[in-house]
């Protein structure tokens, strides 16, 4: 009897701050990811077990974060932001150049990519800021928040890492939007953005411009920049309604797909499981998104609402941008498909966010509004 009690205690300890609905959704997605990865990697079990380790680490971090009450996390917002910003400046000054981009910082024991940290730090920082000035929210606060956002975005853009910069800018914008940024300003920003397109175009790197040109007409350069888009479109299209079957995707199995276990893993999935598979996958994502939205809507404080909303919406944008670029409606920016693409860093970042959501959902608050 003693033993049963112990197990019950342990179970309680483990699941106390875990949102089981959300967890099941996440596990289902990660399961799909592992199955697809096995096929994409050419039945290479080593890669799959690697990813399992990544998932375990990420789940542990998620659990840890879920166990931390939000008021503690809130205190971390400013130091985390400042630390991240300092690291980004460090990258700009001393960063290692890899494939023509300066993204990594060597800190002796290991190399880190500070832009990953910013993916969490930005929503935290901005949510913290709005939370702090909640009562007296004025125009000026939105301006300050925008500056807080733009500092790291510009630094990341200059690395250059367009994909990450866009995702971080998006996560910050969601905070601004949810915090009540006036519609007029949003409209104004949209107009300004449209007007500044030519300027942005001249500021862009050659390869970035090429990617956009390629999106408009991938056949222009079928073996160069257009290759990725063409091959992944072929993979998806040839999958048809029911797909070619697991491990039977010729585009994937014969290496026609680029980066098929990371950014382009969706093409492998799509080729092998067809439109039916895509439908189920999108529904699964929507279930997770729905749960996250519920948590956001029920979040007790301004801070938690903003942070939960930002995490939820950024997750959606990740999915859209990745699937969009793989299916050829968006330019190719290196954005992984959340919970499915191979890679530890993005998995950790994602689950860290979900950990925060769980913490918001499961920690008792004094008063619910």
């Amino acid at each position: 009897m003693q033993r049963t009690i112990d197990i019950k205690k342990i179970w309680h300890f483990l699941t106390r701050y875990i949102d089981s609905f959300l967890l099941i959704g996440l596990l289902a997605l990660m399961g799909v990811g592992l199955i697809t990865l096995y096929s994409a990697a050419g039945a290479n079990i080593a890669k799959v077990s690697n990813q399992m380790v990544n998932i375990l680490i990420a789940l542990s971090i998620m659990w840890l974060v879920a166990n931390i009450p939000l008021q503690h996390i809130r205190r971390l917002a400013l130091p985390m932001y400042l630390f991240g910003l300092a690291l980004l400046v460090g990258v700009a000054l001393f960063g290692e150049i890899n494939n023509g981009a300066r993204r990594w910082l060597n800190i002796g024991v290991t190399r880190i990519q500070p832009s990953e940290l910013m993916k969490i730090a930005i929503p935290l920082m901005m949510a913290w800021y709005f939370d702090k000035h909640e009562i007296t929210l004025r125009m000026r606060d939105y301006l300050v928040a925008t500056i807080l956002l733009m500092l790291p975005v510009v630094l990341i853009l200059r690395q250059p890492d367009l994909g990450t910069a866009i995702m971080i800018a998006a996560s910050g914008f969601f905070v601004l939007f949810l915090a009540g940024l006036s519609w007029r300003i949003i409209a104004g920003l949209a107009v300004a953005a449209a007007a500044s397109l030519p300027v942005v175009w001249t500021l862009m790197h050659d390869y970035q411009r090429r990617r956009i040109m390629t999106l408009l007409d991938p056949t222009q350069d079928p073996l160069g920049a257009g290759y990725h888009t063409i091959q992944s479109s072929i993979a998806i299209g040839s999958g048809g309604l029911v797909g070619k079957g697991w491990q039977n995707g010729t585009q994937a199995q014969l290496d026609f797909l680029p980066e098929q276990s990371t950014d382009f893993i969706f093409a492998v999935f799509s080729e092998e499981f067809g439109l039916i598979g895509n439908t189920l996958l999108l529904l699964l994502y929507l279930v997770v998104i729905g749960r996250c939205a519920t948590i956001t809507a029920q979040a007790p404080t301004q801070f938690t609402r903003l942070i939960a909303g930002s995490i939820t919406l950024t997750f959606c944008i990740y999915i859209f941008v990745n699937m969009g670029m793989v299916s050829g409606i968006l330019p190719i920016v290196g954005v992984p498909l959340p919970l499915i693409s191979y890679g530890g860093t993005s998995m950790v970042t994602m689950l860290l966010g979900f950990g925060i959501l769980m913490s918001i959902q499961t920690h008792p608050t004094l008063v619910k509004t």
């Binding site: 809130r74 909640e134 299209g237 040839s238 048809g240 309604l241 585009q251 014969l254 895509n278």
Partner: protein, 637 residues
């Protein structure tokens, strides 16, 4: 503390937040709908299109190049054969820095500067995605060395290829010709003939000689292999295979031994020899000296060798037997004699007195005989045996150019024989109509005189002379000369005989023929112009000597073989057949810049006959014989 503040939060703020969240989620749903529309478009609307593209990605159709047919002599000795070897090939498109890669490659496998040069030349002429050889004939050690380093050289591969080889080189180069890499012109021609699909994967095509003329027989039919390939182009597995049909083998009538005997007899002299079988027109020997090593052309000839061959004063690339045109000289006389008899302008009994020259009525101009003082009384028989010029001067005047043209034209002089190889020259047998057409001038009686002895406007190829000689030897049958006797299916071994092609028969009275043929036999007997060459022959042999002039000598000037530039010396000519009573071989010989036919050309004929009829291979090159004087007749300006 925080929660305390939260207490004062306005419910309005919360509903405003929730409204914004709702808008955001609605926006997300719109984005997802866009994605879904895109998937539907790709996977349902365009599914077939992308399915086709994926299959095209996956399946490559690899051409299987057929093995080229062999070329064999009449006894089955190979004149063109194949061997397989490994080559190292580069696909230029897959290499970023070609020079650096070649430098690196040179550390693994020997690459000479010549290899590089040739490769660069190929590179200029070829498409970037075509596989080009950098080294041929790899040794086992080299194959092993490359295999272990292969990972360092993407885009470079070892390929097993079949190569052409001409074991007899110079000896039969002008017959066999050569294949070489397909160039843009060839591609255009293939496209025009709708043969391009059959040449997918083929690297070579016949350029000249039998290799060119029998390209369709030799090339064979392409096969295909459907192969599943990965993105790097590596084959994963074969899905289906249609094997190629190898080209047919050509079995020539050419006798390699005879060819070698003729070559040997020529030695270092320049010239040509064509020997035909009078019973069917088969080419027994076909020599053009000098020849060249046709193997040099297969992989693309290098600059140095090309210059050597192309700039040589001996012009080894010139096929003299087929394309060289020369005045037939006195070898023209037997045909003139036949014309005289057949057209009733002379009888065998008629004789004339030869003062050593001929003048047209009412003209002081003297057309001189080669023998000062003349030959005395000359009838038709003697005119051939001693090669009297004056007899033919007067005969020509009686016949007139257009009779000569139409009668001798029947022997094929001055037009293509229709031999089964491309590039034949037509030469010229003049007529008044031709001169009017060419020079807008009427024909003068004086023009006819030099034509009579095979000079003047007369131009024939050695092949035409052999053809004409064959027609005399076989009493009028004009067989189309041809190299290829049989075509062998290289898979079944089945042999298809190509029957002799009798083009037409020249209608000749047997008694007239007999007169001329008897005279031709006496040419080779004591008193004749080729007596020395045929002394002690074990068979009777008929022939006619001739001299073909290279430069004109002015009226009153004397031709002196010793003082004239070697390249301006006369060409020696000889036509002959043997055995005289039942001819098995008829030939024409040209030896450039060596003087008279009796002294240099006839001895070559003797050796060729000895080999063909008796099986005796000549020991050495024939020596110059000291024959009695020959017809050194020259045009007078």
């Amino acid at each position: 503390m925080k929660q305390y503040v939260e207490l004062r939060n306005h419910p309005f703020e919360l509903s405003k937040f929730r409204f914004r969240l709702l808008i955001s989620i609605g926006f997300v749903l719109i984005l997802f709908a866009i994605l879904y529309a895109r998937f539907y478009y790709l996977q349902i609307v365009q599914q077939e299109h992308y399915h086709t593209l994926a299959e095209a990605n996956r399946i490559s159709i690899l051409p299987l190049v057929p093995n080229r047919g062999l070329i064999l002599d009449r006894n089955g000795k190979p004149l063109a054969q194949n061997y397989s070897a490994y080559t190292l090939e580069i696909i230029p498109k897959k290499i970023k820095d070609l020079d650096a890669t070649l430098d690196e490659l040179a550390t693994v496998i020997d690459i000479t500067p010549t290899d590089r040069q040739r490769f660069k030349k190929l590179l200029k002429e070829s498409k970037r995605f075509k596989s080009l050889p950098i080294r041929g004939r790899l040794t086992d050690a080299e194959i092993a060395a490359f295999a272990t380093n292969r990972y360092r050289f993407p885009g470079i591969e070892i390929k097993a290829r079949v190569f052409r080889q001409y074991p007899e080189k110079e000896i039969v180069s002008h017959v066999v010709g050569y294949i070489s890499r397909i160039n843009d012109q060839d591609l255009e021609q293939l496209e025009l003939n709708r043969e391009l699909p059959n040449y997918r994967g083929s690297q070579h095509i016949g350029k000249i000689g039998l290799e060119q003329s029998y390209e369709r027989q030799l090339h064979g039919t392409i096969g295909f292999e459907e192969v599943e390939t990965d993105a790097a182009g590596r084959s994963i597995r074969v899905l289906s295979r249609t094997p190629p049909t190898p080209g047919n083998n050509l079995i020539l009538s050419l006798d390699l031994g005879l060819q070698q005997a003729a070559e040997k007899a020529f030695g270092e002299r320049r010239g040509a020899l064509v020997a035909l079988d009078p019973n069917n027109g088969e080419v027994l020997a076909f020599v053009s000296k000098p020849g060249y090593d046709n193997n040099l052309f297969i992989g693309g000839i290098d600059q140095e060798n090309w210059k050597l061959l192309n700039n040589s004063i001996d012009r080894p690339l010139n096929n003299r037997a087929l394309r060289g045109v020369y005045p037939p000289g006195s070898t023209f006389k037997p045909f003139m004699a036949l014309a005289a008899l057949e057209l009733g302008k002379r009888t065998p009994e008629y004789s004339m007195s030869d003062p050593g020259y001929f003048s047209l009525p009412g003209s002081a101009h003297r057309f001189r005989d080669w023998k000062p003082g003349g030959h005395g009384r000359v009838d038709l028989h003697k005119s051939i045996v001693v090669s009297c010029d004056t007899y033919y001067y007067s005969l020509a005047n009686d016949l007139g150019i257009d009779n000569i043209h139409s009668f001798i034209g029947q022997f094929g002089l001055g037009r293509k024989t229709g031999i089964d190889v491309e590039g034949e020259a037509s030469g010229l047998l003049p007529s008044s109509a031709w001169k009017m057409n060419q020079y807008k001038q009427k024909w003068f009686a004086g023009d006819t005189i030099s034509v009579a002895i095979g000079q003047g406007y007369n131009l024939t190829t050695p092949l035409q002379l052999a053809f004409a000689t064959m027609i005399i030897a076989n009493n009028g049958k004009a067989y189309q000369p041809r190299f290829v006797k049989q075509i062998q299916n290289s898979q079944t071994g089945e042999i298809e005989n190509i029957p002799p092609n009798l083009l037409y028969t020249v209608n000749l009275k047997p008694k007239n023929l007999e007169v001329v043929k008897n005279a031709l036999v006496d040419v080779t007997r004591p008193g004749g112009t080729a007596a020395r060459a045929s002394a002690n022959a074990a068979y009777t042999f008929a022939g006619k000597t001739g001299t073909s002039q290279v430069v004109a000598i002015k009226q009153g000037e004397k031709y002196n073989e010793k003082t004239i530039n070697e390249r301006h010396r006369d060409h020696a000519m000889f036509i002959a057949y043997a055995p005289a009573e039942n001819p098995q071989i008829a030939l024409a010989i040209l030896v450039e810049n060596t003087g008279t036919g009796g002294s240099t050309a006839a001895p070559i004929a003797r050796q060729v006959f000895d080999y063909y009829l008796l099986g005796e291979m000549p020991e050495t090159t024939v020596a110059l014989l000291d024959e009695p004087g020959e017809d050194h007749v020259h045009d007078h300006l």
